[in-house]
Amino acid sequence: MSDEAKRKPAKRPRAEMPCQDPAERVRNFNEVALGYDEELAVAEAERCLSCKDSKCRDGCPVDVDISGFIAKIRDRDFRGAYEAIKGTNSLPAICGRVCPQETQCEAKCLLGRKGEPIAIGRLERFAADWAMSQGKDRPADIKPNGRRVAIVGSGPAGLTCAGDLAKKGYEVTIFEALHAPGGVLVYGIPEFRLPKRIVAEEIDNLRALGVNIQCDVVVGRTITVDELFDEGYDAVFLGTGAGLPMFMNIPGETLNGVYSANEFLTRTNLMKAYLFPEWDTPIKVGRRVAVVGAGNVAMDSVRCAKRLGAEEAIIVYRRSEAEMPARLEEVHHAKEEGVIFHTLTNPVRILGDEKGWVCGLECLRMELGEPDDSGRRRPIPVKGSEFVLEVDTVVMALGTTPNPLVSQTTPGLEVNRWGCLVTRDEDGLTTRDLVWAAGDAVTGAATVILAMGGGKKAAAAIDRVLRG
């Protein structure tokens, strides 16, 4: 037995995640992190201290019994582990891949005080993938209760709400504006981070529960919320997300070669521009691509750019690395893939050539000043530090706000000054009776798990109210 293996499991470093080699993976869109096999998963699970009063669970927005499912993996009861997670989290294969564990459950892990916290996300993914490899969940026995609920939007909030209500016997219809369900999970997050077959599988599971999904329906245009009630729906849930892209309002943003991250990612992921011309939707990626921002959206964009053939893919961010909002793993993977980081750098102008195509990004260097409202140190421009990054594509990944199509066409539905739907209680009841909302549409751009948690609460509230 090697020295390492003889050490107490808790003292061992985390089991490393097998990954595609960086040099290889920048040339394909296949999943980067390959997942633990049974041995790695059990070895990692053995590190868990099984704390009596485990703190990790408090860090989970949907209250997954974390030490419980990890103990089951340790005991090789993989089915049991999966079921323990499924009790409160209906999309574990997705959450295991995209949740920001380092700021949630893993941040609370005792092991993290001295060494590395237990790899909760990777174990969650393992249990979910294991269960998927064993075949479909058998659909639960459902007794229809004769009531109908309309769900608007098929992102994680809508999917979760739909699933919970369907299991309780409601006749659920999801209305989705795009031609495919999944929300950000299909149009935003790239294949190499979240394979679309996993999202498709979760959606198949919902259909097996009897959920009806109607794509190509833009609520507010094709049909209004009031008309949904007229058609006999007893309640409406709004999970419309935060889909409107923000721009910087600097000169040059309408030049050819400037994209919002939403457009760049939608072309790439939903429309599969990386398979052009086999697939019909094109995308323009120059030799040097600058992505402005440093959240998950920016990391996804810059890593897509690299895979789409950019020789240099550059992150331009006005704060420092410590403030980057992206998941740690994404920044780490981006670096491995050769992404260049220009931190403390703020764009002031996009330069175009005589034909109106992007040829440069003029930036200012920044330094960090006093903390601002968000607690992060405020970046301030360094006078006279202008310089030009020569690039031929610019992607703006600055954040998004909710789409006003529904609020503008639903009398009595109030939004706050950021365009987010106002809710009257914890469950997501909006300012209209019998209309609930959750996810990014309420919180502004946030996370998959918060959207799911919100969808879950709303489902419980809808059930309570409709049953009277």
């Binding site: 245009r221 309002n249 050819n256 072309r267 052009f276 019909d280």
Partner: protein
Amino acid sequence: MFEILKKRDLTPVTKLFVVEAPLVARKARPGQFVIVRVTESGERIPLTIADYDAGAGTVTIVVQEVGLTSRLVGALGEGERILDFVGPLGRPAPLTDRGPVVLVGGGFGVAPIYPIAKVLKTKGVKVISIIGARTKDLLILEEEMRSVSDELLVATDDGSKGHKGFVTDVLKQLIESGREIEEVIAIGPMVMMRAVSRTTEPYKLRTLVSLDPIMVDGTGMCGACRCTVGGEVKFACVDGPIFDAHQVDFDEAVRRGHMYDAEQKLALAKLEVAATGGRGGCACGGGR
């Protein structure tokens, strides 16, 4: 859903389709558009609504075969289905109660002008329509337009029908003749709308145009459809597509419309190869 109930060849490259789409038909208004997709690996493209009938549950679209997807749509026949057909999108055209209104339709732009004329007519507004094309055979919907216009003027570039020259020549004559005109609505190729805008601007004559930029989602989510109007960036799919012509930065709109020309060529070449059974080149056989 989205079955093609009727197809009519308006010209060799312009096809009219009556599509079964009851939800869209119920809500459609003049000036709005739909987004369609015809194959699983297909693009999403916007098409302006050319007519609608809520009772029958149908929406009419007119497609000019220019790019890959418009050709794929054009090749569909009666009884076939359009995979995705979503709408109505965009804001309805703001239609005045005070005429006379001059409607200008260039090329396949006559199609989206038609429902505008129809509604204006039912409102009792006087409509003078000017429709044009390169040549007589490319002129579309002449009879339909005549039936909903108080006056119909025709222009062809080659003079094969009506006035020889551009629709803008006819428009200018009309304005110069001192006729009362409340506003002008022009729909057609970007360069034609730019020409109309330049024609009416010196007269400070209120003019609306319908922009047709490249789009992806059509719901305000991507910003592909950005255009500059009155110095501000607008999303044509939700803020438009109809804008005050004199505020529109047409040069930018034209330039952005050409963003994927190279890719479009590549995609069309692929289509040709497929059509010639993978042999490539032209299908006449003369090369062999």
